[in-house]
């Protein structure tokens, strides 16, 4: 199993100032699989996923100990370029957050800032990303419209398309459906299922059914600790730890 891990988290401790927010986390994120992170509010799951592409770098007084490997390389090593890391590890956020630009420019932005200026190539890749995020049919004849005109679910799929356009290796989803209705949620889940053929996916969700539906592996976080990490099937049918069982059966959280 170790050989197919695209990312690996080793002995991770994360501090906010003096406060130890994540304690000794060890887990792997397997290639072309969906790894879900579940747990009650405040358990550190969002903090954890944001550490995986160094989005927490900017928080003052925060500190990361341990190693996070992407294809064997520690992304927190001093010689690593954080911009390059984020290009390889894309992210879709909790709240859909398109730029106040056109649908086309929202996707083209990532390409342009990464040095792709060839118009033909940009047009091709915008189209491909929109097709891959199952939005093309709905927006193909209004690419110039402002992204804010789309519905919430469409906006979130646009954000996914935007992340896909720069062809990352890993995509992190931070509660991508928490603000969406069930139909939009189903579409996004279906999409994640398709995306894992090409990408490695990690998703944070507070929705246990969602984790059970779409993930291959699940990690259960509680109070900054990874209580249990295993195949999703195992976690939901036969958890090894009492706390996991209490959580998935709805006894707290």
């Amino acid at each position: 199993m170790v050989t197919t891990n695209r990312m690996e988290v080793k002995n991770l401790n994360f501090y906010y100032g003096q406060n130890l927010a994540l304690k000794d986390i060890n887990m792997g994120i397997e290639s072309n699989k969906v790894t879900a992170v579940i747990g009650p509010s405040g358990c550190g799951k969002s903090t954890f996923i944001r550490i995986l592409n160094r989005m927490n770098d900017i928080i003052i007084g925060s500190r990361v100990e341990g190693a996070i490997l992407l294809d064997g390389q520690d992304i927190y090593a001093p010689e690593v370029d954080v911009v390059e890391i984020r290009r390889k590890i894309g992210m879709v956020f909790q709240k859909s957050n398109p730029f106040p630009k056109s649908i086309f420019d929202n996707i083209a932005y990532g390409l342009r800032i990464n040095g792709i200026n060839n118009k033909g190539e940009i047009i091709d890749r915008v189209e491909t990303s929109l097709k891959n995020s199952a939005l093309w049919e709905e927006v193909q004849d209004r690419l110039d419209a402002n992204a804010s005109e789309l519905s919430g679910g469409q906006q979130q799929r646009l954000c996914i398309a935007r992340a896909l356009a720069i062809e990352p290796e890993v995509i992190l989803f931070d509660e991508p459906c928490s603000a969406l209705d069930p139909i939009s949620t189903a579409k996004i889940e279906e999409l994640i299922n398709e995306l894992k053929e090409k990408y490695t996916i990690a998703i944070v969700t507070h929705n246990m059914q969602q984790a059970a539906r779409i993930s291959d592996y699940t990690g259960f976080f509680l109070l900054g600790e990874l209580i249990e990490f295993d195949k999703t099937e195992k976690i939901f049918t036969n958890p090894a730890k009492k706390q996991t069982e209490d959580y998935i059966t709805g006894r707290f959280g």
């Binding site: 592409n53 290009r87 956020f93 957050n97 730029f99 932005y109 342009r112 800032i113």
Partner: protein, 278 residues
Amino acid sequence: MYVNPRLEQRVVQSILWLFTAITVFILFYIIFFILKNGLPVLNYQFLTTNPTDMGKSGGIYSTIIGTIALTIGAILIATPLGVGTAIYLTEYTLESKITRVIRFGSECLAGIPSIIFGLFGFILFVTKLKFGWSILSGSLTLAFMILPTIIRTSEEALKSVPYNLREVSFSLGGTKWQTVTKVVLPSALPGIVTGVILSVGRSISETAAVIFTAGSALRIPTSIFSSSRTMAVHFYILAREGISMPNAYGTAAVLIIAILIINITAYRLMHKFMKKYS
């Protein structure tokens, strides 16, 4: 003492209404008074001919040019400085002692009376740096005076751009500079422009800081080293020295109309900006 709450409510409401009415009345009365006295002398000739006989006769053409030159100079100097400072404060540093000192300094700058700026500009630019009474000295002085406004409004505009847009840009592999120039600035632009326009209004109407630094020559300025008279200074001299009250009012009318137009434009832009991000 018991007061009927309903009666109390009524009395307070009437008093507050009265206060508002007085404020608005004063504003409209000033505008009305200036326009009533100024409009009769206003015509195409007044705007397009130079003052003659110290301003007793002729128009105000050279003072319009002087005002525009000084204002453009001040804006060209203050905008990059102010917007740059605001970008540094909001995007490149975290809230700390140093940013608080910078911010406090710029607030203090805003509280300094304009005549002090005039004196400072006179000593530094006019005499020490030997720029003389000139468009250059005047523009530099005005620039320092409007800097706090530009910093403050730009900062507010930058801060109102949702943080998550920056996060997305970073997550796509954007550098800080790419994020600032391609995401944050375009969104903040209307707010920044509003601040600049308000500063234009202040520059146009400034007298004390300008009279010390740009002088009061009635010629049309030919270079940035020419001395020049602005409309506000012209009005001041005409009225102060009793040269011509009708022409003074005429100048004031032009000034007040220009400022009204500028403020309405700024207000409209601000409104549009607020609507976009609320």
